[in-house]
Each structure stands twice: as structure tokens, then as C-alpha cells.
Symmetry: C2
Subunit: 354 residues, 2 copies
């Protein structure tokens, strides 16, 4: 690896690329001056933007390509036909050891396919997962949720691996020393959970974990901040994440409607302004931008495609924290322990060799 803190940024991914990517890279340098960048994409469009930003000039390299992954490219097609795309070159920079982490705001499915193919899973990881973290009602606590959509159907063993991935993420990025981990489940006692979830609970209770397995959590426990890590399959995780986003938008919409139809509401508006600003900040999705593909041999962050420069900078920041905390080293160590513990010796040997 040439430079420890080099990040590969797909300059052409996202709704407002390359502008938001370049501006986001500038913003990220404020909190992480140790970073330098490899930008992949159309040099004719990227170079003028970099040249105009003094803080970037000495910290940037461009890898030119005019090929791009399109928003509606199917993952398998992107993998086959976009080998020279900005996204692919960025992933390749990590695979080659030139950068420690790739960040892209492009097509999620394509990025997942390219990262999986280009970076390969870590030993003892059968399925990588997408993780992110969310605000909660408990002061200072953020909750990691995974998988957010990489794996539609999961075995109990997949879920136990996600628990390890999520706990290490909480340790390295959120600085929680001994994360509390729960499996997402439904409420009613007797009918609790699918066979996979029940089996995963038994396995987690016996495994050596980089945290503490505390049992089941229900959907609303994520926002209550009851635990640090909530583990589920990619179908449930994806639907849960989107339903939460949808609900937050619905409440904001209802708020707007209520004030719009209140004839004297505007009289109070100037007094409320500081509080409304604070509320907007608390709920700002840009602060929670950055879905991490966990369990690969290289680090990979997906920024939301609709994010502005600040949102993209936060996704870069998540990557910077993972690099600084040497996440994959911790992950490999934790996975080796659990890998040893939960598998018969022979099978374990085979898995490790692969």
C-alpha cells in the first residue's frame, strides 16, 4: 500500500457528480487532513474542479476514464460491461493497494457486485453485508443496523457473522468499547422468529463475540437506542430502513401541513427558528450518510446518490474512521475467533484456506 490514508473516490457517481464529490472531498479534509485522494473519472471535467481548490491540488491524483456506470445498469451487466468505468477503477485502486477505501455515490447494486468481485470476502466471511448507523432517543447512542440489502435470504450462520461485522463497526467507527448486540425479531413470545433467527440466537449466546449478545430487539428498539448493533437479513433490514426514512418524511410533511394551515403560526416563527434549525440538524440525513460494505478485504462506502457535498464528505469521513481504526485488522481477528469456535475443525480448515 503506497499511502495509508489514500481514498479512491468515484468522481462520476451520484446525481451531481463530479461537483459534489470534489466539494465533499474538500470538506472531508477539514476533519481528516491526513487524507489524500485518487479521483476516477473524466479528467476533462475533474481536473478544472481540483485545480480551482487549493487544498485538493497536492493531495489528488486523477485516473482518467470516460466510461461510467449508469443508474439503471443491472449489477451483473455493470460487472461485465463497465470494467473501465470510474466505479470499477476506484474499486481496482483499493484492490491494487493504492488506496485503502473506495467511496462511490453511484448505482448500489453495481458497486456491491464490483466490490465483491474486486475485493473478495475476508476469511471466515461467507456473505458480506451493508451496515449503517442511526440516531436514537438515547443521548449519545447511535445504533448500527445490518444487513441493509446485500443478502435477501440469510442462514443462521450469516446472521452470526453480521453480528461480528456490526460489533466491530460499532467499536471502530462509533467508539463503543463493548457493543451490545441484538437480533431483530417480532414481539409476541411464543411465535417469536423464524427458524434462522432462533438458531442464530442460540449460536450467538455461545460464541466469543467482540461485544455482548443481549437477545432479541423489536422494530422500535432500533430508535429507542436499546442496543448498539441490530442484526437482521437484508430483506427486513432494507424494508425497515426505508420505512423509517418514509416515516420521518411523513412526520415532517405533517408538520409542514399543520403550520401551513395555521393562520397565526407565522407570528411565532421567528421565535421558533433556533429550535427548528436544531431539529433540522438532528434529523439531517446527511449526518447518517454512508452505507458500509462490510466483510471484504478492502473498505468500501456507498454514499446516497442524492446527497450534496456535506453528505458525501460524511461518507468519506466514515471511510476515514475505518482506515484510522484499522477496521479490517480487528474484523479479521474477531472473525478468526468466532470462525474457530463455531465450526468443526475440518470444515473450518477448508473455509480458512479459501
Amino acid at each position: 500500500m503506497r499511502q495509508k490514508f489514500t481514498m479512491a473516490l468515484d468522481a462520476m457517481g451520484g446525481d451531481e457528480a463530479p461537483d459534489h464529490v470534489i466539494d465533499g472531498a474538500v470538506l472531508a479534509l477539514r476533519n481528516h487532513p491526513e487524507l489524500s485522494y485518487i479521483f476516477t473519472g473524466d479528467e476533462a471535467r475533474i481536473k478544472p474542479l481540483i485545480d480551482a481548490r487549493p487544498s485538493l491540488r497536492k493531495k489528488s491524483e486523477i485516473r482518467h476514464t470516460e466510461e461510467m456506470v449508469l443508474p439503471d445498469d443491472k449489477p451483473s451487466a455493470a460487472l461485465r460491461h463497465r470494467k473501465n468505468s470510474s466505479m470499477s477503477l476506484a474499486v481496482q485502486a483499493v484492490a491494487d493497494g493504492d488506496a485503502a477505501c473506495v467511496v462511490s455515490a453511484g448505482n448500489t447494486g453495481a458497486l456491491m457486485a464490483m466490490a465483491l468481485f474486486g475485493l473478495k470476502p475476508l476469511p471466515n466471511v461467507s456473505r458480506p453485508a451493508i451496515a449503517s448507523f442511526y440516531p436514537t432517543m438515547k443521548k449519545g447512542r447511535k445504533t448500527v443496523l445490518l444487513d441493509l440489502g446485500a443478502n435477501i435470504q440469510c442462514t443462521a450462520k450469516n446472521l452470526t457473522e453480521f453480528a461480528v461485522l456490526g460489533a466491530i463497526f460499532a467499536q471502530v467507527v462509533l467508539k463503543v468499547e463493548r457493543p451490545q448486540i441484538a437480533l431483530l425479531n417480532v414481539g409476541s413470545e411464543e411465535m417469536k422468529g423464524s427458524e434462522e433467527v432462533k438458531e442464530a440466537a442460540h449460536m450467538l449466546a455461545e460464541m466469543p463475540l467482540p461485544g455482548e449478545f443481549v437477545g432479541y430487539a423489536e422494530g422500535d428498539d432500533i430508535m429507542k437506542g436499546v442496543v448498539d448493533v441490530v442484526v437482521t437479513d437484508g430483506f427486513t433490514g432494507n424494508v425497515t430502513l426505508k420505512a423509517s426514512e418514509g416515516t420521518a418524511r411523513l412526520v415532517a410533511h405533517m408538520m409542514k401541513q399543520a403550520f401551513k394551515h395555521s393562520p397565526i403560526g407565522w407570528l411565532g416563527y421567528p421565535f421558533m427558528l433556533p429550535a427548528l434549525r436544531k431539529l433540522k440538524h438532528s434529523m439531517d440525513p446527511r449526518r447518517y450518510n454512508g452505507g458500509v460494505f462490510m466483510g471484504l478485504r478492502g473498505l468500501c462506502v456507498k454514499s446516497h446518490g442524492g446527497m450534496d457535498a456535506l453528505g458525501f464528505a460524511n461518507a468519506v469521513g466514515v471511510g476515514a474512521k475505518m482506515i484510522a481504526g484499522d477496521m479490517n485488522k480487528h474484523l479479521a481477528a474477531a472473525l478468526e475467533k468466532t470462525g474457530d469456535a463455531d465450526m468443526p475443525a475440518a470444515e473450518n480448515g477448508v473455509e480458512k484456506a479459501s
Copy 2:
């Protein structure tokens, strides 16, 4: 059936029983003067409450029992050991044809077990489901979501039946003539959905439905009001519902925090009051109280256990609308059509005979 609009109310279910049940019954009469009630539970506690409320006196019958289902009774244990409980007697009143609908705010699992055992599924229903409806961003549109937790793992056929149940609910209770129906799924094109979801989509596209199948919906589409009915398995539905409730509470909490720490915010408060009241009304969970157990030969509504009288009254109101709209007649007719269409004749005959 003795009286068409008689409802059986479990007077002992819920946190503040029997008071909230009795007061809720009074409130429900304002919108539904056609109703009369059978209250099941401890006569010594119920009778004085009824006697003190003139509007109830002539419309109420009490079926006395001192036995109750406890909040932590397991469903199977409740079914075996609480045969003379207020919940069981209320279900029995519907099974015997003395009442058209049962409403209980007691233990969900126990009510589901008792209703399933006591009322039996309708012909062509292999698995009953729990449905409820939610506010959306689209003016005037509410969206029905099911299953909310009755069936943890579902086959494609189960999901297609839920689509019929949900569509009839939308027709009868929400008065949507031709409901649009979608299957809940994840976003990314290629990896879309489990095998069950994909198969259900194929089946729904070919089936005669009391509405229009429009394809897939994502988690946030529920709140956007993109369709009238969203169909999913009970695991995903339960987690989605609770995550949405949790998110709404989180946003309300953040709002409170923001205003609490705004030193001049209180100056604007009097002006904002009408808008805040309107917002509170829009978000009031009591307005969306009442999970309906659909697909049984009798009608059954579960009220949230923590609801006050108004919340309970709304659950009674949902039941009243189902009775008035003759829901099970419509349901049986719709299920017969789809049952004929999607099954080989022999198997169909067997199902119908059961």
C-alpha cells in the same frame, strides 16, 4: 344471529380495563348508534360503570366471569387454561352468532389463538392475517398493511391470499372502490425479493382480484401513499410497523429536545399552539388503532393495550364498519373466485370442504 350490530367487548383486556372499554363503548355509540354490546368480564366491576352511563344501559348485556387472560400468558397456555376468561367468552359470543364482531385490548397472541380456534378460517383461506391502516403523504389516502405478525414465514400462496384480504378491507372499511395492491420488496432491480415474493408477484398478475395488482412497493412507499394495500409476511410487517412507530416517536422526541433547549422558543409557543394541536391530531396513534384479524368466519379486532377510551372507540368503529359493509360476505365471494382460479379442481374441493 340475534342482533346484527351486536359487538362482543372483552371488558377486562387492556391496561385500564374495564374503564377504558366501557368509556370507549360510549364514545363509539356517537358515530355508530346502531351498535349494542355484550360485555364479558367481572360483573361486579362492569355493572356499576354501565349503570352510571345512561346511553349504555339499554344497549348492554353482561356475561360474567372472573377469569382473565394475563398479559404474559402464552397463547397456547391461554387457549388451554383460560377457557372461561373474558376474552374467550367474547370470542365465543361471535362463534355462537350472538355478536358479529369481537374487540379486545388484551394479549395479542392469546386473542389470535382463541379467534383462530373459536372462529375458524373462511373457506379458501389457508392462513388468516392481521391488517391495519396508516396515514400517508397523499391527501385522503390511507394504506392498508398486512400481515402484521400472524404468520412469520409465508408461502407465495399465503401472500396472494393476504392481497385479497387487504383489498376487501380497503373496499369495506376505507371505501376504496378498486384498491391498488403491491407486494413489499427491496429496491435494487436484480436482487429483488425472495423466491416467495417473486412467485407471489407472478400469481397476483394472473389472478382475478378485488382490485389491481401494480407490482412491488418499497418500505417508504407505504408512507408515500403510492398504493392502497401493501402485502408482506408477518415478520417483515411486524418489524416495519414497529420501526415506523419508533421513528415517529424519535422525531417527536427530537422536536421536544430542540424546543426544550431553545431559550426563546417558548415566546413563539402561543402562536404555534393551533398548528401543534393539528400536528398532534395528524399523528395521533389512537386514530389508527385496531388491528383486524382477517380471514376468519367471525370478525375480530385487536385494540392496542395502552389505548385510552378514544383509541378503544376507534377500534370498535373499525369493527362497526366491517359489520355494516358485510365484510366477510365480500371476502368469501372474492376468495371463491381466486380459489377457483389458482388451484387445481380436486385440491380446491378439499379446501372448500374443510
